[in-house]
Amino acid sequence: MTPILATVNYSEPWWIQIIKALVIFAVGLQLIPLVLLAERKMLGRFQGRYGPNRVGPFGVMQPLADIIKLATKESFRPRTSVGFIFMAAPAISIITAVATLAIVPFGNTVDIFGTKVGLYGVDPSIGILYAFAFGGIAFYGLMLGGWASGSKYSFLGAMRSAAQLISYEISQGLALVGVVMLAGSLSLTEIVDAQATQGWFIVPQIVGFVVFLVAGFAETNRAPFDLPEADAELVGGYITEYGGGGFTSFFFAEYLNVIVVSAITVTVYLGGWLLPFGWHTPGLAMPFIVIGKTCLLIFLFIWVRATLPRLRYDQLMSLGWKILLPIATINTLATAVMVVT
């Protein structure tokens, strides 16, 4: 019988699979408040102020204070909203963000108490396409959320984010084709293994890396591409009518997406769990290396947000279509020539 699902390279007994999924999810969940706090502290420093420093030592309890505040808000939706979709849309955003976390490889298979365990959620042979598939569904979260609010600001924000996401998804996909050609595989662990022999892909694929990163900023609705939530013109974009829980969900999903995009960039271009200069990576140190590199990239996200002004919408569209798309295509063809010859 032809299998319906893509083959998985390695899988453990079911109980290990459940435990490791829970552990990775817990780690991902812990990273979100850290990133949130780091962003606010660093933005403060970038702008010559302190950032949050009142709640707990050095303001470290600030995310907790935020979540308590958001949780104790009144449950509310505008009378123009389409109830069920209005409630479901933030959940769609979260589900897709969490599901994408499953393919981030934090390491290769290692021995833990005599059992071989893969330090990733799941390693399907389609790897990257899994991330793109859920990225495509994530778009429904924003779109339905904005539409179901019944407010024109929400609706315009949703339309904008929809057009932005699909425009940049093409460049992002094309940028990765070069990596897939070099590695000869879509599986993220095999891409890292290929980098062990060929060197990190950021060297031959520097153009692809830049395109992927710029598209990644746009895909996660981060500055300077945070047009959907451009507060000067669209109030809050697609989250205008959301408060409390819905707002929390969208922000949770946004920060988780930043983490996942950074982690995938690390895996694909920056050698994943490999150390530079050919140093050997000890098995259980792999997750720390991946998380360390991911944190550096997240710092880049924050740095860019503090530095660059927001683009105008027509500039955003022409950057995506007239600059990134041709560059990504030429990069793909050049890589193809390089691989074949």
Binding site: T80, A91, G121, P124, V180, G245, G246, T332, V340
Partner: protein, 120 residues
């Protein structure tokens, strides 16, 4: 087959749990008073009386972008299987891919010249 995808299913379920928890948390922890008035439940507007409507119209540019997206996303999807096997297929696949991309870029140039990529 499916059991090797167990972690992915667990992640989906966890995402659902977190999403549901966030959706329900205001109902549990929030204030229970339910005083609603017309102005409170109307959608956001700045200064003007809120113009409540459900059917919005929006620019044709969004449709153009959506159509172009389908075209070029299919290009990307076609390139992926070739990319995986490029080393085995060699020069043949390279020539085929180049012709495919070149043909698509004739269309891209046409669309560009006609101004579909300029946002209005």
């Amino acid at each position: 087959m499916l059991n090797s995808y167990l972690p992915a299913i667990v992640f989906l379920l966890l995402g659902g749990v977190v999403g549901t928890a966030f959706a329900l948390m205001n109902g549990i922890f929030g204030p229970k008073t339910n005083r609603r008035s017309a102005s409170k439940t109307s959608p956001y507007e700045c200064g003007l009386p809120s113009d409540v409507q459900q059917g919005f119209r929006f620019g044709i540019s969004f449709y153009m972008i959506a159509m172009l997206f389908i075209l070029f996303d299919i290009e990307v999807i076609f390139l992926y299987p070739i990319a995986v096997k490029l080393k085995e297929f060699g020069a043949f696949a390279l020539v085929e891919t180049s012709i495919f991309v070149a043909l698509l870029f004739v269309g891209f140039g046409y669309v560009w010249r006609r101004g579909a990529l300029s946002w209005r």
